[in-house]
């Protein structure tokens, strides 16, 4: 058992493969998540809980949509935009999807440059991610304005089942809030990176603890999760 009890986290730890390895990790009377700092483990556990929240929203949407006797409004037409003379179905949502995926791409590269301790590139990529996220929220605000102008309310809409509005505002509103929080978080962390907080072990304002470049990866986990949730909303709410 001696080789299963590391003295510090960064050590290479020998372990049996497969399920035996999981049992060894979980029964080691120490931390269950070896090689993962508490910050990263806690972010993963938070994301797990957030998964359940969004699942509950999507499940209640599924339930109202399956049980209504009134036809569900066709999202393909509701979210169509007239560009020039042509009416293109779902085009705004498609653009929003590409914007969010691009922001995930820049975030993944920011994490990479963070671990290479290239603080200019890291901060630039994080700010690019934040800008794409803000663009996404802006497009969502445009979409909300358009739909509210057309008479969509949480209790009714001109096209069919009244539950459409409540599902739409609840699901996209909650997701938009997550994106907004992510943008704020990204800007704060980009500022810290740019200032060199993690190179000079500067103590944090609130916690008085020294930060590490790992926080870029943790911020990235949150950001990718927001993108992940959008994948499910796009498929289940807009395309279904």
């Amino acid at each position: 058992m001696a080789d299963m009890t590391p003295t510090h986290i960064g050590a290479e730890i020998a372990r049996p493969a497969g399920l035996r390895g999981i049992v060894a990790d979980w029964s080691s009377d120490q931390r269950a998540f070896k090689n993962v700092s508490w910050g990263k483990a806690m972010m993963w556990i938070f994301l797990l809980s957030d998964t359940f929240i969004f699942s509950c929203f999507l499940l209640s949407y599924m339930t109202v949509r399956m049980s209504t006797v009134v036809p569900w409004p066709n999202p393909s037409e509701v979210f169509a935009l007239t560009i020039g003379a042509e009416k293109i179905p779902l085009i705004l949502i498609a653009i929003m999807t590409f914007v969010l995926i691009s922001s995930s791409g820049t975030m993944a590269m920011a994490v990479n440059f963070g671990y290479r301790r290239d603080r200019r590139k890291t901060a630039a990529l994080m700010l690019a991610t934040a800008a794409l996220g803000a663009t996404f929220v802006g497009m969502q605000a445009f979409e909300w304005t358009k739909l509210i102008g057309e008479g969509v309310r949480p209790w009714g809409n001109p096209w069919g089942a009244p539950q459409f509005g409540s599902s739409f505002f609840m699901i996209t509103g909650f997701h938009g809030t997550h994106v907004t929080i992510g943008v704020i978080f990204l800007i704060l962390m980009a500022r810290k990176v740019l200032r060199g907080d993690f190179d000079h072990a500067r103590r944090g304002f609130f916690t008085s603890r020294k930060g590490r470049y790992e926080i870029v990866e943790i911020t990235g986990l949150y950001w990718h999760f927001v993108d992940l949730v959008w994948v499910f909303i796009f498929a289940l709410f807009y395309l279904w």
């Binding site: 510090h8 986290i9 960064g10 050590a11 372990r15 399920l19 390895g21 999981i22 990790d25 269950a32 998540f33 070896k34 090689n35 993962v36 700092s37 483990a41 993963w44 994301l47 797990l48 998964t51 359940f52 699942s55 499940l59 599924m62 339930t63 109202v64 399956m66 049980s67 006797v69 009134v70 779902l90 498609a94 995926i101 691009s102 995930s104 791409g105 975030m107 993944a108 990479n112 671990y115 290479r116 020294k210 590490r212 470049y213 790992e214 990866e217 990235g220 986990l221 990718h224 999760f225 993108d227 992940l228 994948v231 499910f232 796009f234 498929a235 289940l236 807009y238 395309l239 279904w240």
Partner: protein, 118 residues
């Protein structure tokens, strides 16, 4: 002192663990674009029925898998973490089953008691 050691040791260990070439991220990014385009085209061409639903779900799962495995580095984590995070959400499928049952029942009662349609 040991605290300080632990704090300075970690980034190096992590850097070794999660150091992947930029090219990998660009390839995944490209695939996500392709898959998103495919799922948009499902709507654009107006596919319907089981073909539509299965394609939507297929593209959704592929995209989600790429994001979690590569962007969130889950593919390189230890099994103890992977199982702790990825197994609980599968229980949601049970919840989905329960709610399908429930909404079919609600629909049935609505059709029986409000036969004219609301």
């Amino acid at each position: 002192m040991t605290q300080v050691m632990a704090e300075t040791e970690l980034p190096r260990g992590e850097a070794k663990a999660q150091h992947h070439p930029i090219r990998l991220y660009l390839v995944v990014w490209g695939w996500l674009f392709v898959l998103s385009t495919c799922s948009y085209l499902v709507d654009y061409f107006g596919l319907t029925g089981y073909l539509r639903w299965s394609l939507i779900l297929l593209f959704m799962i592929l995209k989600a898998g790429l994001i979690v495995a590569i962007f969130m580095h889950m593919a390189w984590e230890r099994l103890a973490l992977i199982y702790a995070i990825l197994v609980p959400p599968t229980l949601i499928l049970v919840f989905v089953g329960i709610m399908i049952f429930e909404s079919n029942y609600t629909l049935l009662t609505r059709l029986v008691f409000f036969a004219t349609g609301s």
